[in-house]
């Protein structure tokens, strides 16, 4: 995964806008990046295993990889370099989308500073959440953070706890359904192949009996 494969970045103003913290510039730069990212992805032909093809994070990640050359050597495995600023930008984009939905719902606008403030608060609270989750898992003598830890995180407010518990059950049921589908699929395939073979045999027998 060499940097030389990537085209030079389209909008050099993103990092400065992010550093300045001007929400509008950041948003517009991110939107401009989505077009650039789509073009670059097509030409570079990189294959990234689990990065989803949605504008916010992948655009930010493309920008990360395009602007690293000045600082690091070209052989750097860039997928591991995720600095806080890029994550903040991605959070800001998601917060902007959610606030837009609230605006449509409640007919009240949000100022740019408000959106920036909410994303800053979310980012900082994530640190507390992450530390709590790690402590909970360690306290339970587990090496994996599970849904029980997340439910414990939501304990402070009763309705929040109720909502999270319901969501957890929904997710668990979805997973069960998906597993059931997967198990049924190979059985169905073998069954359908057997049925088709049986039909062919029946058809052959009928032909033979007719003739």
């Amino acid at each position: 995964m060499c940097l030389q494969m990537l085209e030079p970045r389209v909008t050099p103003t993103l990092p400065r806008a992010v550093a300045r913290g001007r929400a509008r510039d950041r948003k517009e730069a991110l939107r401009a990046l989505t077009l650039g990212a789509a073009r670059r992805r097509g030409s570079a032909g990189k294959s990234e295993p689990t990065v989803p093809r949605r504008p916010g994070l992948s655009a930010v990640m493309e920008e990360v990889e395009a602007e690293e050359p000045q600082e690091f050597s070209h052989r750097q495995p860039l997928r591991t370099l995720v600095s806080p600023q890029r994550l903040k930008a991605a959070v800001h984009y998601t917060v902007g989308c959610l606030c837009q939905e609230v605006t449509l719902d409640k007919q009240v606008n949000f100022s740019k500073q408000t959106i920036a403030a909410i994303s800053e608060v979310t980012f900082r609270q994530c640190e507390n959440f992450a530390k709590d989750l790690e402590m909970f898992a360690r306290h339970a003598k587990r090496s994996t953070v599970t849904t029980e830890d997340v439910k414990l995180l939501a304990r402070r407010n009763n309705s929040l706890l109720k909502y999270i518990t319901e969501k957890n059950e929904e997710i668990a049921q979805l997973n069960l359904k998906r597993k059931a589908k997967k198990k049924r699929k190979p059985e169905d395939e073998s069954r359908s192949s057997r049925e088709s073979m049986a039909e062919e045999l029946d058809g052959a027998e009928e032909l033979q009996s007719e003739s």
Binding site: P52, V82, L87, T94, C99, F110, V150, I164, N175
Partner: protein, 107 residues
Amino acid sequence: MEENSGFRKELVSRLLHLHFRDCKTKGLGHQWGGEYVGHREGGCPMTPPPSPFPPVSGDALQLMAEFLRIFVLEAAVRGVWQAQAEDLDVVEVDQLEKVLPQLLLDF
């Protein structure tokens, strides 16, 4: 599945692991077995990149994404309530500041 946009699992995973690493560098590494030490923000690494540690299960990631989405929506909607109580059309930082203490206590 959802008509609302939310946090993507990749983003949530990176956000959490950003702060897992901080805990380890502050000397709690030995409790996890001390496999992974230090930040990797610069320099040429000699070892292959370590897998994210501790791992977060897929269900927990989805639940965290939902949790963060609720956090943002609560902040936004409480700001709207405050603005409506003050007969304003736009939610400014002032309204957000007034709802922030209760929001942080609830989460």
